[in-house]
Subunit: 134 residues, 6 copies
Amino acid sequence: MRVGRRETFNCAHRLNNPAWSDEKNKEVFGKCNNNNYHGHNYVLETWVDGAIDPETGYVLDAKILKDIIRKHVTEPFDHRNLNLDVPDFKNLNPTAENIAVVIWNKLRAEIPNQFKLSIRLYETENNIVEYDGQ
Amino acid sequence: MRVGRRETFNCAHRLNNPAWSDEKNKEVFGKCNNNNYHGHNYVLETWVDGAIDPETGYVLDAKILKDIIRKHVTEPFDHRNLNLDVPDFKNLNPTAENIAVVIWNKLRAEIPNQFKLSIRLYETENNIVEYDGQ
Amino acid sequence: MRVGRRETFNCAHRLNNPAWSDEKNKEVFGKCNNNNYHGHNYVLETWVDGAIDPETGYVLDAKILKDIIRKHVTEPFDHRNLNLDVPDFKNLNPTAENIAVVIWNKLRAEIPNQFKLSIRLYETENNIVEYDGQ
Amino acid sequence: MRVGRRETFNCAHRLNNPAWSDEKNKEVFGKCNNNNYHGHNYVLETWVDGAIDPETGYVLDAKILKDIIRKHVTEPFDHRNLNLDVPDFKNLNPTAENIAVVIWNKLRAEIPNQFKLSIRLYETENNIVEYDGQ
Amino acid sequence: MRVGRRETFNCAHRLNNPAWSDEKNKEVFGKCNNNNYHGHNYVLETWVDGAIDPETGYVLDAKILKDIIRKHVTEPFDHRNLNLDVPDFKNLNPTAENIAVVIWNKLRAEIPNQFKLSIRLYETENNIVEYDGQ
Amino acid sequence: MRVGRRETFNCAHRLNNPAWSDEKNKEVFGKCNNNNYHGHNYVLETWVDGAIDPETGYVLDAKILKDIIRKHVTEPFDHRNLNLDVPDFKNLNPTAENIAVVIWNKLRAEIPNQFKLSIRLYETENNIVEYDGQ
C-alpha cells in the first residue's frame, strides 16, 4: 500500500556549473542560466510504502506526513532562492533532479525506516522527476 | 502494457475506531472523526496489466473495464455514506487505504486472472493511495 | 481589476425538502436525497473587484482574503455535515446554489464595501455555480 | 464571441516598496519580500472579444494571437527576473495585479482595436487576477 | 445566480473554406486544413443564469441540464466527424467559434427562456471560446 | 532517477479490424468504429530512467528529450489522421495501446541505451495506457 501527499512551494533558481565558462553554461543551460534567476511553482508528491496499521486504518497519518514535509521541505524552501538561500544548493546545481535528491534525503531522515519512500517533483506542468533513493 | 480507467464517486464518511475512547478518536482522527460525517469526491484510477490482444489492439476494452467498475464500485458507493450504507465498512474504518483494499478486492474478483490489477484512489487533490494487492 | 483566491473544503450533505413527501424528494433529488448523506470536495474561488492600491500593488492582499475565507467559510464548513453541523442550513436545502448564497453573504459582511464580490463554487468537476449577490 | 489562448512563462520576482522601511516591507509582503527573490510558473489566458469573420470562421486566428503573446509577453518575460530583467518593473512592484496591467497594455497595443481585450493571470493555482483595462 | 455543467465529446474535423484555393486554405488554416482530418477532445461548459427556485434550491436541476446537453449536443457530436457526420457543418467551417454558435443555438431552443445561456468550449487546453448569443 | 516530459498532439483515428465483418467491428469497437473517424487531444508523458550526470545535474536535458519527442512523434502525428496519414498504422489498429507501442519504438531508437524508457499516453482524461517495452 502506497500513500501519497501533495504539497507545493515557490522558488527562484538558476542553473550553472561554476567549473565551466559562461559560454559553456549558456550553451548547456540556455534560458535556465539567466544571471538574475527565474522561478517555478514546484509541486511535490511524497509517497510512502508500508502496511496498513489495523488500529487506525492508515499506513501513515497524512497529518504526520504533511507536518514532516512542511517542516523539512516546504518551510525552508518556499519563497526562497534555492541557490542563495538554501545551503544544500551552495555547491549543487538546483536542477529538478538534484532538488529531488535533496528532498528525498531530508524526508528519508524523518520518515520511519519501515516505510519505503519515493517522491515525484513537478518543476512545470511539462517537466517532472521521480526519485526513490536509487 | 498497462491500461488505466478513471471514474469518480462522491461519498460521506467518518473515521472512528470503536475500540477507542472518544478522546483517543478525536486525538488520532481529528476533524475526520466528526460525528455527523463529512465527505469527498473520490477519483479512482483502475490499472490493468496484460498483453495486447492482436485482434482488437486492446489489452482489455475500456468499455468492459468501465462496466465492471461502475457495477461493482461506483454504483454501490456513489452518493452513499460509506459507514452506514456500504456493508464492507460496517466493521472497517473507511480510510482511503481501507477503501482501496475493498475496491481492489471487488475488482480482482471480476477482472480475468491473466491481468495484474492495481488502483490509485484520490481522496482529495492532496491525499492519494495506491494498492496492488500486496 | 479582479483578484481571485482558491480554497477547498470537504463536507457531507443531503438534499431534501421537508415540505415534500419521501416519494417527491426521491423523485426530484434522486441519489442526492440519500438519507445517510453523501459528500463532496468543494472548491471555492472568491473574486474581489477593485482598484490597485499604488502603495502595495495589491487590490487586496491575498493573505487578508485567505484569512477572511478561512475564518468565515472553510473553518466552520470543512469536515462538517452541512445539514446537521452548519446552522445556516438548518432550514435551507444545501444545494450548490444555496451554499453559494450563504458563503457570499458571510464574505460580503467581512470584505470592505469598496470591493465588488463574486464567488465560484465547484461541487464536483462537472457541477459549478457562480454568484455575485444578484 | 470571446476567444481565449493559454500560454505560460516562468519568472523570479520580489515584492517591495522602496519608499518603505525594511520592517514595513517585511510586515506587508511577508515571504514575498525575500531579498533574493522567489519565483512562479505564471499561466496567462488572453481573451479577445469580437465578431466571427465569415470567411475564416475565426474571431482572430489563434496562431496570430499566440504569436503576439509570445513576441510581446512570453519571450521577454520567460526565465527572467521581473524586477531586474524586465524594464517595465524597474519602478513598479511586480504583484500579479501590476504584471496583469503591464501585459494588458503590451497586448492592447498589438491587438486590433475592434477587439475587446481581457486577461487572466494565474500566479499560483490559488492566486489569480483578471484585468480588462478598467 | 449562474449554474454550470461540464460535458465532453471527441470529434474529427478539418478547417477549410471551399470558396478558396488549396493554397489559400493551406496558408490560412495550416495544419488544421489537413485533408484527412485531425481531432480533439472537446470540453463544453454550459452556463445557465436565473433565480433559485425556493422549493428545490436549484436554478435548474443539473440532471435536466445534463440530459438536454447529452441529447442535443454530445450524443449527435461525440465520436463523429464534424464535417461529414454532423449536418450543421455541411456548409459551415467547424472552427471552435462556429461549433460554439451551433451548440448555443441547439441549447437555446431547449432551455426555458427565463434562463440566460452562455457556453465555454475548450478545443484544446490552450484554445478556448465563449459565446452567449451576441 | 526518472525524468518525465509532457507533450501533446491532436489526431483523427478510427478503430477497425479489416479481417472482421462490419457487424463484428461495430459490435466490438462501437462508436470508435465510426467510418468517418473521430479524434482526440493525446497527452504523452515520456519517462527516462538513468543516473544524474554530475556535470549538468541532469539525467537527460529536457530540451534534448523534447526535441526527440517533437521530431519523431509530435511532428509526424500532430493534426494528422493516424489511419490514413501515419504509415505505422497502415496495417495496425490505432488503439491507445498500439499507438503507445509505436511511439515507444520510435523513441527507443533515439534515446541512448543507458536510459530505460517508458511512456504514458492519455487518449482522454479517463483512458490512459502505459508501456515500457514489455
